[in-house]
Symmetry: C2
Subunit: 186 residues, 2 copies
Amino acid sequence: MTFDQIRNRQEKPSWKGVLPGRPVPFFLDDGDGERSAVFDSLVTVLLSKDETDGQFGVFTMRQPKGDLIVPHSHVDVHEIFYVVEGAARVFVEHADGRQESKLLGPGDFGYVPAGIVHSYRGEAEYTKILGVCTGGFERFFQALGELTDERDVPLTEPFTPSPEQMQEAFSRYRNIPLPDYRWEEA
Amino acid sequence: MTFDQIRNRQEKPSWKGVLPGRPVPFFLDDGDGERSAVFDSLVTVLLSKDETDGQFGVFTMRQPKGDLIVPHSHVDVHEIFYVVEGAARVFVEHADGRQESKLLGPGDFGYVPAGIVHSYRGEAEYTKILGVCTGGFERFFQALGELTDERDVPLTEPFTPSPEQMQEAFSRYRNIPLPDYRWEEA
């Protein structure tokens, strides 16, 4: 076993236990939380269903300018996008089939309830989004990605899941991917 | 005259109807939302229980450097503080009686579950906090304050509620004020 292998075997990620797992007060510094690499993005869970009696989860997404996230809808998850830094274009399909997209900058807000086809794309060199979701969805990104100790993007080691891992993550979190869906404005 | 009667009588604010009131997709530009003046702060509701099947509400608080908010606890509301700009010191009393305070800067996060005595104070000339709460609490600030068309602080017209309005707001939103509570570090 090489030194690097030994080192990598050590208790990664170092953030294990950073969330209390029950409804008690706690604080996190910027960058702290449960971190995972998902393609070229870093997703950090700040709060989970375990601290909120299942009500909501909170996470940040840091990403470089990149590709459109695969269009998808959640069976039973409501979700917000609040842009903290940079810019993101959020795409939604309303219930009547009408498509809408909006370029969100710092302080701008988007809401996507359950059942609505949506997607988004980082439009700045560096974008940081605060997300809030129905409790229990927040760790989808850990199932889709890889736990990491990195703290920001660009990631030293971007992570591309296998088709099997993607399918397992989408299925477990009741997330319906629509890879063939097209946005007129995208 | 009840609070709802007063609210419905007003022709202002111009933002009436800015939230859809049901779970449909929508977007808000920075500064848009249901705005109220509460003392020297501007609180803007971005999302309410009506859009999230009662799960959670989202709001921003903009404030100048100011006084400590009266210590209080919520009977049944979980709440987060995510600092977007500026700085705020958040005070909590843990279940074992131990007090803790933390100065939060941009990107820092604090969580206060139901039943925990807490307070906070803006520590920068200009502080902007994103809050998330158990669905249904988000309009507490409208009951405590005054609906307004102002978009930022410092407010042209700060608003101080009467003792009766304060009591009605705290009571209706199951918020327990503890004006005699003291923080060792405050």
